[in-house]
Every structure is written in structure tokens, then in C-alpha cells.
Symmetry: C2
Subunit: 308 residues, 2 copies
């Protein structure tokens, strides 16, 4: 069975969208990655940190999905990372209202012994040095290392970010971040420049406009499923990354051909994530629903024209 190691934040989120407002709910990259990846038949462990205030029910919900949480540190007397944000009316942009790093500020990830030979390593958005530390603890070179990051690290820790980028196989990044990282407006040119930084595969996420996968001279596009209503975009990118890395871990096939399928699964699971607040939809998602939606993705994209 394929083995996935994921590192990422665990958090309380307080979210406001045009459709409503939440109190502190489960957030952070790791729960989204874990919930998505655990839809595939793999062994999965999460490396993260929480405070003593983190509810046991969240941990047991993740454990019930066979996610190994032995490397989630619980800091005595510590407080869990907190983020609150408010989305604009079009849901394409948001303002961060508050960020409290709390225990995440001193996070030193420790990779469990039995995951030092993981097939796939998913580095969720964190300080580049934290991500690098996970890579360096691996005893066996993973088949695939996937990195997610954001503009904050480009602005504040450029050199560290360049170091970790040079060590990974795949980067997932959104369109604005790809432009910022490369000073190129064209995503085709941006992907070319990012490839020179290290990753052989570049996934550029465009939110409601889908995602592009670049490799050498090849490009593949996975649309977002057109939805009547997007309720809360929080976690869609992490869900995408979790499904992507979970699918690769399950298939242990890192060819471009198979990675196309991985981005389709990424887009598939992300389309569920945005239907409810936070992780709510992902907690109730069934394999059967995913398969039905896969059929919708086929109908959305597949055509038959004879080449003359």
C-alpha cells in the first residue's frame, strides 16, 4: 500500500463569506490534505502541531479516517494557530482579519520512524525551513515530493523558499503567486521559470478557472466544475493538493500521464470542499460521490473529433 507523509498546519479558522459566518472551526492545511488524501487506499500520516485547546473530537475525526496522528505534537499550555478572514462578494479574494501563530511559531516537525520511507511527501504551506526539515529527515528518497507555498514566504523568506523549491518534484501554487514568483504574466512563461528553480512538474491553480499542469513541453488542464453556488473557498487549494498527492501515493506512478489523473482528482475533490463551510463537506464525502463527479468531469471535458 502506498504511503503518504503530509506536513501542514492545524488551526482554528473563523470565516466570513457572503453566505454566513463561522465561530472557530477546524482549519489549517493538514486537515484538508488529510481528509482528501484519505479517500484513496493509502497509509497516511500527518506531521503537525496544536495547542492544548485543540478539541479531541477533531483528532478522533481524523483518526477515524485512518490518518496516523502520532506525529501531531500537542503543546501543553499552548494555543493552536488561529486565522480569521473575510471573503469579498465574488469569493475570488479575501482579507485576512487576524493571524495568531501561537504554537506554530516554534514548530519543529518530527517525521515518525515508520514514515521515513514514504512514497510521497506533501509539504503543506509552512515556513520553508520547516518544509526543508521534513525532506532532510527522510531516509529514503521519496518517489515524489510536492510543495505548496504562498506569497507570504516569497515576501519574507525568499532565500529559504528557493532552497526548498530546488529540492521538490512538484510545486502547487496559485496563478497570482506564480506571477509574483517569476515576474511573468503569462502562466506558460511563469511555469518555464519555475522549472528552472527545481520542480519538474508545476501545478498552477486558478480557483474557479481550474488548474494547469506543466511538465517539459507538455501542458494539461483540469477545469473547475461549474457550480451553482460556491459557499466557502477555504481549503480548496489544500484539498486539491491532498487529493493530488493521495492519488499519486495510491498509484505509485509518477508519469505525466498519471499526474493528469491526479489533477483531475484534485479538481474533483476541491469541487466538494467549497460546497460547505470549512471541512464540513469533506468529512461527509463518500467514494461513491467522488466517482459520480468523476463522470461529470469526463462529460465536461471529453470530446471526439477525428483528426483528418
Amino acid at each position: 500500500m502506498g504511503k503518504l507523509l503530509a506536513v501542514g498546519s492545524m488551526a482554528f479558522d473563523a470565516i466570513e463569506t457572503p453566505f454566513g459566518k463561522t465561530d472557530k472551526i477546524l482549519g489549517g492545511a493538514a486537515p484538508y490534505i488529510g481528509l482528501a488524501a484519505s479517500q484513496f487506499d493509502i497509509d497516511i500520516a500527518v506531521v503537525s502541531v496544536v495547542g492544548e485547546d485543540f478539541p479531541e473530537k477533531y483528532l478522533s475525526m481524523l483518526r477515524d479516517r485512518n490518518i496516523d496522528l502520532s506525529a501531531v505534537e500537542i503543546v501543553k499550555g499552548g494555543k493552536t494557530f488561529f486565522w480569521s478572514g473575510k471573503y469579498h462578494n465574488d469569493l475570488n479574494s479575501r482579507d485576512t482579519i487576524e493571524t495568531q501563530l501561537n504554537v506554530l511559531g516554534d514548530f519543529t516537525p518530527v517525521v515518525p520512524e515508520h514514515y521515513k520511507d514514504a512514497d510521497v511527501v506533501m509539504l503543506g504551506n509552512l515556513h520553508p525551513n520547516t518544509q526543508l526539515s521534513v525532506i532532510e529527515q527522510m531516509e529514503k528518497k521519496p518517489k515524489l515530493i510536492v510543495l505548496d507555498t504562498m506569497n507570504f514566504w516569497m515576501n519574507n523568506t525568499w532565500d529559504e523558499l528557493m532552497t526548498v523549491i530546488s529540492r521538490v518534484d512538484v510545486i502547487t501554487i496559485n496563478d497570482e503567486e506564480a506571477r509574483q514568483l517569476t515576474n511573468e504574466y503569462s502562466l506558460v512563461k511563469a511555469a518555464q521559470k519555475i522549472r528552472q528553480m527545481g520542480p519538474e512538474y508545476i501545478v498552477i491553480k486558478k480557483g474557479e478557472h481550474g488548474a494547469l499542469l506543466f511538465h517539459e513541453d507538455n501542458v494539461f488542464f483540469a477545469p473547475a466544475l461549474p457550480l451553482e453556488e460556491v459557499f466557502d473557498p477555504t481549503g480548496a487549494g489544500d484539498t486539491f493538493a491532498g487529493a493530488f498527492s493521495g492519488y499519486i501515493a495510491a498509484t505509485r506512478d509518477v508519469s505525466f500521464h498519471n499526474m493528469k489523473n491526479a489533477v483531475i482528482y484534485g479538481s474533483n475533490l476541491a469541487s466538494f470542499c467549497v460546497e460547505k463551510f470549512g471541512t464540513e463537506r469533506m468529512q461527509k464525502l463518500s467514494k461513491d460521490e467522488i466517482q459520480k463527479r468523476l463522470l461529470q468531469f469526463k462529460e465536461l471535458t471529453q470530446f471526439e473529433i477525428e483528426l483528418t
Copy 2:
């Protein structure tokens, strides 16, 4: 052989993009529609109007592509419609600098006798009454009537626009216009509302983000080809519409299945149009190049996941 009747403006355009600036060049919906549609094996006629200042070389260029121009009125002493515009740096938006309607202000379209039984009628962006007049001159109900329009007519001739919309089978419209027409942000909901206005098929063009085709509960998505450089977006929408209607006229198959192919050809030809200023690229486009790009569209979108 399938027969296509297209009505649309013929114009002088003066275009400024971040990459350069043109003098008055050939523009208007009809040349783009005609150049795109004439790539298919069909009979095609254009209904339009120009002034005495319109260069014969433009007309002969179109005639050389077997486009019947017998219904292009040349108004003695009249001046051709003129538009000038400047694109913003991201090429996604533009400002109109000047519009001189000139002979287009009094345009009364006359459908040629031998095109009153056309299979497909493509109504390029014009006053809704002008578009309606073309429909009413048809002696045989066409297999398909396709309408293009824009926000200007929504703002100024709402009732006339609703009348012509109720008479067509397909509408092609961009995302912002679909939202304005329906007051719905979600394009899925917007398409549902537009369907209630008349058209069974709704094509929503999203520029660099591709195009959606809606019919009943079905939706199909044609991506835009990711390009290193977009040089000038002028005419991309008309080129899309021309290829769409040309392909339907050539195949005379108005099923949803075949319309998927039509939007892929629309996206295919539009991807060439933006590579040069104005109609320049479309004038030199070969069938072989289109077939090669079709292969790129397949590689961009086709995947193989077994449904379990």
C-alpha cells in the same frame, strides 16, 4: 455542402496593446467570422455595409477565401464604421477611445436570395433589430441560428434584444455580459436564466479562461490554449463564433455532442487570432495548422481514468 449566412460589421480598427499600436486596419465582426468559418468546407455569404473609403484589397482578400460578398453594400460617399481602443496591461480589459458608426448607423441588411435557405445563420454583434431583420428574411427555418451580442445593447435596447434572443437557438456571450444579462454571478445560474429567454444552447466565453457550453442539464468546457504571448485579443470572440458556426454548417449536425466539437474549434481558431494584430494571423492560417492545434487541445484536456 453546408451553407452559412453571416451578418456583422465591417470596420476600420485602430488598436493599441502593450505590444504596439496599429493605424486603421481591417476590423469588425464579419471579417473575423468569415475568415474563421471559411476554414471549413461550406458555402458562406456575408451581409454587411461599408463606405466608399473601404479598400478593395480587403474585399478581394475575403473573396479569395470563397466568401460571397454580394450582400455587402458599398455606400457611395459614405464612411466605414470606425473603432479605436486601447488594451490594459493584462489584456483582459480595454477602453474604447472612439466609435464612429458612419454607414453602420443606417444599415439595412438584405439577405441574398440564394442564402434564404442557409443551414446556419450567424448574427454578429449588431443592433438587435438588424439581427431580427435577417431572421425574418429567411424563407426556410435554418437548422441553427447563433446570436452574438454585447453589453451596449443590454443598456440601450433591452426590449429589442429580448425579442431577438427569443428567436435564436444559440447565444454566445462573454462572462461579464452573461452576469449583466441575468443579475446572476454564478455562470451556471446565469445560463439557466438565459435559457428561459429563448436559446437552447448558451456559450459563455471567458477569454483566456476558456468557454462553457450549456444545454439542458449538460455542460461542456473548452479551455483556451495556454499561450506564451497574447498579442491582441481583438476579434477572438468573433473568430470563436465564426469557427463554431462554420463547423456546424459543415457538419449539419446540431446535437450537443457535435456542438462540443464546435466550441473546441472555436477555441482552437481563437487561439491563433490573438497571436497577431487584427486579422493578420487569420489571413495566413492553414488547415494543417488547425489540425495540429486540435491535437494540442486533445493533449490539453483528454485523460483516462477508469471508473470503479
